[in-house]
Amino acid sequence: MAYAGYPPPEHLLRDLGMEAELTTETSARVRTRVTPEVSAPDGSVRAGVLATLVDIVGGSIAAPVLYPDRMATADLSVQLVGPPVGPWVEARGTVLRRGRTTLVIEALVVAVDEDGADTTVDGRPADPVAWASMTFAVLPARDGTPTGPMVVDLPMRWTFDGRPFDRPVFDALPIVVLDGPAGRVSVTNRPYLHNYIGAVQGGVAAMLAEAAGAEALGAACGRDGSGMVVTDLQIAYLALGKVGPVVTSTRVLAAGPGSRAGAVVELRDTGADDRLTTVVNVTAEPVVAVGRAS
């Protein structure tokens, strides 16, 4: 379910080539192709890209459920489970609870074949790629907002057509590394990265945190950022990043042979008095093998 005019013709979500289907009034699925450009150094799809996929599946469900009210993502968590073994990854979301001020959604990310069937391994369904959940804050409809019924014929399908990436997704945004060991990375605010209300899209914030966490934790482990794979993102969205550039700062919590690698990444809108927009707990592990779905 896309809002009118969103995303614009030149947009990250289009270049991710997402295909979506609203399957019931409270469930949807959104998929994107597994390519080297959206993959981490070990061949798994980047946690930030999965967060984007999950955010879109959640938004696809939330928009008609909440209509005429609108929503903003309040928190989102994604945990990688297994490597993608199919040509596509698909996020399947469903509503857990619809409250007066919030909507909570769970999403399971699975590998699927070209025909949309679950990928199998040795005749059995492959492990899930990731588990995710998110909370949307309900934004009450303002005066003048249409209040007529939202007519949705189910199943409803749509595709975000764009140009496939010709470079890694982090370079396409682009994310600029200001100080790797300090976990300082930056992205310029531009329409290509916007959500439907003109601020930096939640998935972009996730990718920014992933990049910052990998850089800082890689340095703490004696590697560079490409030597780490981010496996968990716990994201709290506090305010919109409307001006930019959005710049991260990172606090490494633990990194070493005897401990797990974790960091807290803060995103600030430097053009808006350094306003804290997002806080992300990042967990990562060293790259141990390189593999990629064909």
């Binding site: 001020t101 909370t135 804050a137 141990v288």
Partner: protein
């Protein structure tokens, strides 16, 4: 109506103190507010828990469920103080545990990140004072702001609550939280009165402890030859209050990656039409 007195104890309408700090007292959580000169500054609180031997888990530190109980207690209280005269209920809690072995005591700090009309977001950090302030955990919790007519609250500011005395007859956390013995994907908790918070519903820390224990049992049942297990990363969405019980955690092991097993945990209030009350995930590691 529920009233909370100046020392943080819940009282009923007759003014008789109803000591329902049982859960946070079990972990001997000391709490104090960090006063600032700026009256408009966000609320900041600190806490300390000693890590008593009977509360240690397989990682030789405070069990993750216990850690989450402290985080929930301090974070909830901090969030509540930030919206007085209204109060809050926790809606989600995420935590990542970086160190499972603790010397103790553990020191907690809670900072309000965002105070909105309908919700409060608070960040928490835990360090091990006995290990040169080594980092232990980072957490974020979101609370919904309650209807102001639901309760009346009175606190002496800055708020402080001393560390409770050690228990004379200590029991382990699984026993304390009335978690029934068992193995496999389903774990049950008896909703005894002492596990209720001042508002009469199951304490969020008890839910977290149940999720911890249930996920470890579920992972142990499917991971061959696994040793002692402990929970690390946790995501919990508190969807509805638990009022009746018994409470059942139903787990699905999603998979294992680099020694980390991700378990989906769905918690149901069996006595309340089996409704789903909490959903989340727990990452389990071998220690």
């Amino acid at each position: 109506m529920t009233r909370v007195g100046p020392d943080g104890e819940a009282a009923d309408d007759g003014g008789v103190v109803d000591r329902r700090r049982h859960v946070s007292d079990y972990f001997r959580l000391e709490r104090w507010e960090l006063a600032t000169d700026d009256p408009d500054a966000p609320t900041v609180m600190a806490g300390r828990t000693p890590v008593d031997d009977h509360q240690r888990g397989p990682g030789d530190g405070l069990r993750t469920g216990g850690l989450l109980t402290g985080i929930d207690s301090l974070g909830g209280f901090t969030s509540g103080l930030a919206v007085l005269p209204r109060w809050i209920v926790t809606t989600s809690l995420t935590a990542t545990v970086s160190e499972l072995s603790h010397v103790g005591p553990l020191r907690l700090r809670a900072d309000v990140l965002r105070r909105g009309r309908n919700s409060v977001v608070t960040a928490l950090d835990v360090v091990d004072e006995g290990a040169d302030d080594r980092h232990v955990a980072a957490a974020t919790m979101t609370c919904a702001v309650l209807d102001p007519d639901a309760l009346t609250l009175e606190f002496t500011r800055p708020f402080a609550l001393p560390m409770p005395e050690p228990q004379a007859d200590p029991v382990d956390p699984v026993t304390f939280f009335c978690i029934e013995p068992g193995t496999g994907p389903v774990t049950r908790l008896r909703l005894e009165d002492q596990l209720r918070n001042p508002w009469g519903i199951l304490h969020g820390g008890a839910v977290a402890m149940l999720a911890d224990e249930a996920a470890c049992r579920a992972a142990a049942a499917v991971v061959p030859g696994v040793g002692a297990l402990a929970a690390t990363d946790v995501v919990l969405h508190y969807l509805r209050p638990v009022r009746v019980g018994p409470v059942e955690a139903r787990c699905t092991v999603l998979g294992t990656r680099s020694g980390r097993t991700v378990v989906r945990v769905a918690i149901h209030d069996v006595g309340a039409d089996d409704r789903l009350v909490t959903l989340g995930s727990v990452t389990v590691v071998t220690v």
